[in-house]
């Protein structure tokens, strides 16, 4: 339902997952949905990706956890979450009634953690897909992030694939030399789709105290600042893999979303923008429809990957 643009078809498919429109909210920026219920018509969204869930609850990092940067922010939340059991018992109750797709973002310390989470969540009523956050450190491998080593990324993907028949989205880390390669290995390992980007690793220092501004020293950079990097990676990945790509990174208004769709994303996620503009996701849905209408297009699917690049 897009109000005045009812003639426009916004439906997209992410592998086996069908969405009313290509606009999702990104993990960690929309809580468990309920936090925004007063401000956003959740049933208008393509879907909600939950805060990352682990097997056991996690308290997260000590404060300070966030810093504002130029057109962006750093966060070092430390993956605070209620744990999978509490999530299913408490958070899913509301999400099930929200009238939108629910994609559960999962994270672990080991390949086995991911597999067990996928198994536990499979069959839970109201869960439409899993998104696997592979930017987490592998505690068995000295804390190197799963998402920066192709073999480790493939292992996580394969294990989750074996554990679930839910649509499986693997969320890539941008902190790598060759994002196309990472996408290709997770495709090969059974992912139904890839989403990117997660945050870039960054840092900020308080000169006066000569201390890091985050207790965790480093954190993840998000927001409009990273959009050009995200868009480039999405374009690169969309040309490399044949599974659908979900674009994420600094998307704040319809034009941003359209850039990602034209670059080859089949859907997008709105992240940090939910903080400074809770209406962003809804405005983007309307804005995409208005753009298509204005351009004489009938379906959003016709603009996906429509980037015209001069030959040569």
């Amino acid at each position: 339902m897009t109000g005045q643009y009812d003639d426009i078809d916004l439906r997209v498919r992410i592998g086996p997952l069908r969405l009313r429109n290509p606009v999702l909210t990104a993990s960690g920026t929309f809580g468990y949905g309920r936090e925004f219920a007063d401000l956003v018509n959740l049933h208008r969204l393509g879907g909600v990706v939950t805060k990352g869930i682990s097997l056991a609850p996690r308290p997260g990092n000590p404060p300070p956890r966030i810093v504002e940067t130029a057109c962006g922010m750093l966060n070092a939340i430390g993956l605070e979450n209620v744990g999978v059991e509490e999530f299913i018992r408490r958070k899913m109750v509301f999400l099930r009634t929200a009238g939108t797709r629910v994609i559960v973002n999962i994270l672990g310390d080991s390949v086995d953690d991911y597999a067990r989470l996928a198994e536990r969540l499979t069959g839970v009523e109201g869960i439409d897909a899993l998104e696997v956050n592979i930017s987490c450190p592998n505690v068995r491998k000295g804390g190197v992030a799963f998402g920066t080593v192709p073999e480790m990324a493939a292992a996580v993907t394969g294990a989750v694939r074996a554990a679930t028949d839910l649509p499986l989205i693997v969320k890539l880390s941008p902190n790598v030399t060759d994002i196309g390669r990472m996408a290709a290995v997770v495709e090969e390992a059974g992912a139904d789709a890839v989403s990117l980007i997660n945050t870039l690793i960054g840092m900020a220092i308080d000169c006066r105290t000569r201390r890091p501004r985050l207790a965790n020293v480093i954190g993840g950079l998000s927001g409009p600042a990273i959009k050009p990097v995200a868009l480039r990676m999405v374009w690169q990945v969309a040309r490399t893999v044949s599974i659908p790509v979900i674009g994420i990174g600094g998307i704040s208004r319809a034009e941003d979303a359209l850039e990602f769709l034209i670059a080859g994303a089949s859907a997008i996620q709105v992240g940090t923008a939910n903080f400074y503009q809770p209406a962003a996701a809804e405005e983007i849905i309307t804005g995409i429809a208005a753009f298509l209408h204005e351009q004489g297009e009938h379906s959003v699917r016709d603009i996906i990957g429509s980037l015209q690049v001069e030959a040569g």
Binding site: G28, T29, F30, G31, E35, F36, D38, L39, K51, P59, G60, P62, P63, P64, R65, I66, V67, E68, A70, C71, G72, M73, N75, I77, E80, G223, P224, A225, S252, T272, N274, F275, Y276, Q277, P278, A279
Partner: protein, 259 residues
């Protein structure tokens, strides 16, 4: 407590002292449901620099749907806000957070330092709705100087409170910390509401604890969302972490792991 996003028009801007402003906004949705101690997240324009909204306590609301903010220019975001004149619009999210518990009987004490005075005025007005006798409620206000404090103190006088002041430079009232004034009033009150710089709140909390008086404090942390979604506004609590924007900003002093 429904939250709203509302484009609010600025009706008036008053510069109370150098760099200290009181803005009057027309924001009927946010003002309508607001409770003392709650706050709003403010965005001044569509620029991405600064990116995040800024949190401000609700200073007071009117029956007609107006809402006031009291703030000091300390950086880029407050600088932008201070440049807006009547007719401009700002985008508000609110009312947010858990406010003060209204004490219906027994004398209370309000302790405010600097911009921490902002939410106390709303509290002071709302408390009067409960048929209190404000002349038995001490209001202790502190600031750097007479210049910063005088007009704010007058507002509480106007409500009938027993106002006492302290300034860092001695230009008005007690020359020293506002918490110095607490000792003589603690025996007479059953609850103290405190908002101001962290060290001041820590001292007030300790004095209340020692005197066996209930104490509520309003904490500040950096916030990205104000909605409980980013999990960025953490403080240490005795049993783990608390999130100021939803569990606070007002806490019982005992809910805080003072450092």
């Amino acid at each position: 407590m429904t939250k709203f996003q509302e484009k609010a028009q600025i009706l008036d801007r008053q510069e109370l002292a150098a760099g200290i402003y009181r803005l009057t906004l027309h924001a009927p949705l946010v003002a309508g449901g607001a409770h003392p101690g709650q706050f709003v997240m403010v965005r001044t324009d569509d620029s991405y620099d600064p990116l995040l909204r800024r949190p401000f306590s609700i200073h007071q609301v009117s029956a007609g749907g107006d809402l006031q903010l009291l703030f000091k220019v300390v950086g880029q975001g407050t600088g932008c806000l201070a440049r807006l004149g009547p007719g401009s619009r700002v985008d508000l999210l609110g009312p947010l957070g858990r406010g003060f518990r209204l004490q219906r009987e027994d004398p209370v004490c309000l302790v405010g330092g600097g911009m921490g005075i902002a939410p106390l005025y709303f509290l002071g007005k709302r408390l009067l709705q409960h048929a209190r006798l404000p002349e038995f409620d001490p209001v202790l206000l502190g600031a750097a100087s007479q210049q910063e404090l005088a007009l704010l103190a007058d507002d509480f006088f106007g409500l009938g409170y027993d106002v006492r002041t302290a300034t860092d430079d001695g230009s008005l009232g007690h020359h020293g910390f506002v918490t110095d004034l607490l000792d003589q009033v603690l025996p007479r009150v059953s609850r103290v509401y405190v908002c101001g710089p962290y060290p001041m709140m820590r001292i007030a909390a300790a004095k209340c604890l020692a005197a066996g008086v209930e104490c509520e404090v309003s904490l500040e942390t950096h916030m990205a969302c104000g909605l409980g979604a980013c999990l960025g506004c953490t403080v240490q609590a005795p049993d783990g972490y608390a999130h100021v924007c939803v569990q606070g900003p007002v806490f019982e002093a005992g809910e805080v792991a003072w450092q």
